[in-house]
Symmetry: D2
Subunit: 147 residues, 4 copies
């Protein structure tokens, strides 16, 4: 069942989000990193991130975090899906696909159909899904070199 | 000279922005497209786009549009540089580089060091510059298929 | 068991090679295509293709075709692995990996350590293996536009 | 004027080929590297490399090296254009384009229309030309990890 993230999900949510951070090589996020992210996801503040989870009772099978932000070419803005993760124990059951589709539905409800995300080029299991529910952008991304 | 976009730049700004849109294949933006974009750039509204121009008197040699938006991994958010264009007559004089660096400075002033943008894979003249002032992201981008 | 392709493999070999051609969208190769390829693989002619198969008795689980060709930067030349295919029924058992390693061994025996191949960017199952036994080349490939 | 490489081109050829090697980061090829490559290009041996040059009297403005090799999908084989270089002093005059087209003509004369080459992803000046006379292959290349 897909639903919004709730305060009582704190421990389960962190278990998953740590798995996601580790997937991208971040094994030692300070405790404060998770505190702050969770607080923002629940803040309900206009313009900040939203969280959805795939829950099986109290257990979480997957999570997704997204935000709406302005775009000069589109009055209604765009939706950036920053984080998506499925519990490794729950793979192959459509959890990630359902979460992406739930973001699509939330974005449509807000009148913001354009949804995008980033992924590692060699995230092959992820890309098998993404190729079905989305398309690779023809654009490449540059970023400022920092420290 | 690089400065913020001003109301009196309207005609010059549209001349450049039309050139930019045409570069990406959009030759027939309705008039309202330019009206709205210009109004947003000048609105001064928190969370909306900013515009900088490289001006030679009343003539504009280049423009850049950017916006700050939230990021769950970075408290301070990130800066998305959406549009960058140099008048074809003014190429090779460092206009685009100066505009990117002005965005870096504006982002630093706001405490948001991370700046990113997208470009066409075969925008070779642009990439020659971008490789010097930035780096290609290792991530690829997916986007929802729309109508 | 990995061994060289033999005349009595004709039917089994074509079954696999048709599967491989279909994977790349070639569903209707004329009969002569298979006749010629098989004859070349068995010709023993210096400079032409070699074939190895992963056999389980008379049944073939996989095939690989490779050729040596000159390279101006390497006196000994290089080895081009053109075709690699595992029977869909025999996936997940290390067939493809064993075939690649058999080509490496054959190339080493000939004093030609450099082995390369091409694949579709979205051949994710293949790339999961290739990333382990090889590396993606930093170079991109251009080809003449033909009719 | 484009013509075949000749024995008397030895010094001029090495000047260019060293420039090419340096472009790819090879600044210290041993003397024997150039001796061997030049001998192979002039050997006239079936199956080895050919060299064409763009000559302005005794001075060479550019060079190209290519070889034909077997391909199992094409009876007539394919043509690999390994090296292409224009004297930096002679850029912008169509030298590289003329050399590629001369290889196309030589390949056609031999009945081998398919010509391919590799290049660095960020060889932007080269790619501006290649996009006009050829197309980027949709395939990616893997190679064995060596030493």
């Amino acid at each position: 069942m897909i639903r919004e993230l709730r305060p009582e999900d704190r421990l389960e949510w962190q278990r998953l989000y740590q798995g996601y951070q580790a997937f991208y090589g971040f094994h030692d996020r300070p405790a404060g990193f998770y505190d702050k992210a969770f607080a923002r996801l629940l803040s309900g503040q206009a313009g900040d991130f939203h969280g959805l989870v795939h829950a099986d009772g109290a257990r979480l099978l997957g999570l997704v975090h997204y935000v709406f932000h302005p775009n000069l070419w589109r009055d209604e803005g765009v939706c950036y899906l920053q984080d998506l993760f499925t519990d490794p124990q729950a793979r192959g059951r459509g959890v990630a696909r359902a979460l992406i589709e739930a973001v699509y539905a939330a974005a449509d409800a807000r009148g913001v159909p354009f949804v995008y995300w980033l992924t590692a080029e060699d995230n092959y299991p992820g890309r098998m899904l993404y190729d079905r529910v989305a398309q690779r952008s023809p654009f490449i991304r540059y970023q400022r070199r920092l420290g």
